[in-house]
């Protein structure tokens, strides 16, 4: 029985605001339960000569945790997010420019990596940066007894034997492929785990990511409908 009485495959209540910040090109706030992350994106904008790439845009990530001094953990998160989205952003469309992704964790109650990836995906879509795919992420923990639970809280992560985060591209999830043929765009596994436990986590996270993607689609559709004034008559 999980502390908050959720099912093993149940994600926490999701909440998002697309376009939450008004001084950036694109932004989003994404929450799963009490874990909440803001992301603000600029791009394509001018780039420092040092980072300028002649044939593609430079993707830069700045990550700040909710508490604590900035350190290596934040640099690791920046690198992880950058490597994920460098392949998603259609970089060849805007050479000699930069896309700057800013991430600010508002509150961390577990699965913050997945929530951050979801927030960044929505912010990039809000900024209309050209993207190959929408990305949806989910985390999973393996408990001492070998059972796997999705979207773990901080308490569940502390007691877990291993924690896994997966992110998937929407085009892979949409094709209704089963988890064995879906390819993730981000994988992070920590702790001791068997191949079987890894496979089960993969499966669980792929299904959770599908639900997260459906939620993100609704959030984007609502905003797009409002902007194009479909509902109100002209």
């Amino acid at each position: 029985m999980r502390p908050d009485r959720r099912e093993d495959d149940q994600v926490r209540a999701l909440h998002s605001v697309v376009g939450v910040l008004n001084r950036v090109d694109g932004s989003a706030q994404f929450s799963a339960g009490r874990t909440s992350v803001y992301s603000g994106v600029y791009g394509p904008v001018d780039v420092r000569v040092y980072d300028e790439k002649l044939d593609r845009t430079h993707v830069e990530v700045k990550y700040r945790a909710d508490t604590g001094a900035a350190g290596t953990k934040d640099r690791w998160a920046e690198s992880a997010i950058r490597q994920t989205f460098e392949r998603i952003v259609m970089a060849q469309m805007h050479p000699r420019t930069m896309v700057q992704i800013n991430v600010q964790v508002r509150e961390n109650d577990g699965s913050v990596d997945a929530v951050a990836i979801n927030a960044v995906a929505l912010a990039l879509i809000d900024a209309a940066v050209p993207l190959r795919d929408t990305v949806a992420a989910a985390s999973c923990a393996v408990r001492g007894d070998g059972s796997t639970v999705v979207d773990p809280t901080l308490e569940e992560i502390e007691d877990a034997r291993s924690v896994h985060t997966f992110a998937f591209a929407s085009s892979d999830l949409a094709a209704n492929l089963d988890a064995s043929t879906t390819h993730p765009v981000y994988v992070d596994s920590r702790g001791e785990f068997s191949v079987d436990e890894y496979d089960r986590c993969y499966e669980l996270c792929a299904r959770a990511a599908q639900r997260v993607l459906a939620f993100m689609r609704t959030a984007i559709e609502d905003k797009a409908a409002k902007e194009s004034q479909i509902s109100s008559s002209k």
């Binding site: 090109d25 694109g26 600029y42 791009g43 394509p44 904008v45 001018d46 780039v47 259609m90 469309m93 805007h94 050479p95 000699r96 420019t97 930069m98 879509i125 900024a127 209309a128 050209p130 993207l131 190959r132 795919d133 929408t134 591209a169 929407s170 085009s171 949409a174 993100m216 689609r217 984007i220 559709e221 797009a224 409908a225 409002k226 902007e227 194009s228 004034q229 479909i230 109100s232 008559s233 002209k234």
Partner: protein, 239 residues
Amino acid sequence: MVDTKIVIPGDVVNTSLGSDGGSESADGNSSVLRLGPGLAQIGEQVSAVASGVLHNNTDNNQWWVVGNKRRYVPSEGEPVVGVVVARHGEGYRVDIGSAHDALLPLLAFEGATRRNKPNLAIGTVVYGRVVVANSVMDPELECYNSHTGKSEGYGELSSGFMFKCSLGLARRLMDSKAPVLNALGSEIPFETAIGLNGRVWVNTEASATTVLVTNAIKNSEFLSANQCKQMVKELLEKQ
């Protein structure tokens, strides 16, 4: 273009729905697929790369996605409002909100010759047309119609006030029937220059009126035509 389908990046678009049997017998254009903004060919499929409403024109098998955004990417032929930030030997550098500042040649003005060049101060607001825009070069502007040699409204915009808005709102304001501009125009004399780069310049007789016009335009983004008229009426009454 009846059904309003909203796509998100990664969605595969079935473009074979666009051309019906009737167009095959006409010109050979039915085999040519035209992808506009927001769509790209990835592998063998056409995918959305931006979120928004999917549109298609069955006449020439053209598909595109309409979505709002704030960051301007220059496109040839678009009118833009910019600010002069530097002067070089051959021209000005103008900030139009894109990743790179635009070049405005000194001779790209009405009646400009080598002996009679314009003398714009840094900080001048100008209305120009994008002449060169691609991903590998800095954008270039001209402040006149190079075919007729006349300014046709382009050039320096003196006094007045410039503010920023979303690209979607700017595009809607370019329509001569834009509700908020017509509602304001029937009560207040004002001049305006709309830049498709999300910048609007407004000039009226008094600062208070300029502020009112600015607020009315900014408020109108998500309002319907009737709501616009009502909003303008309330702003004028409060004055």
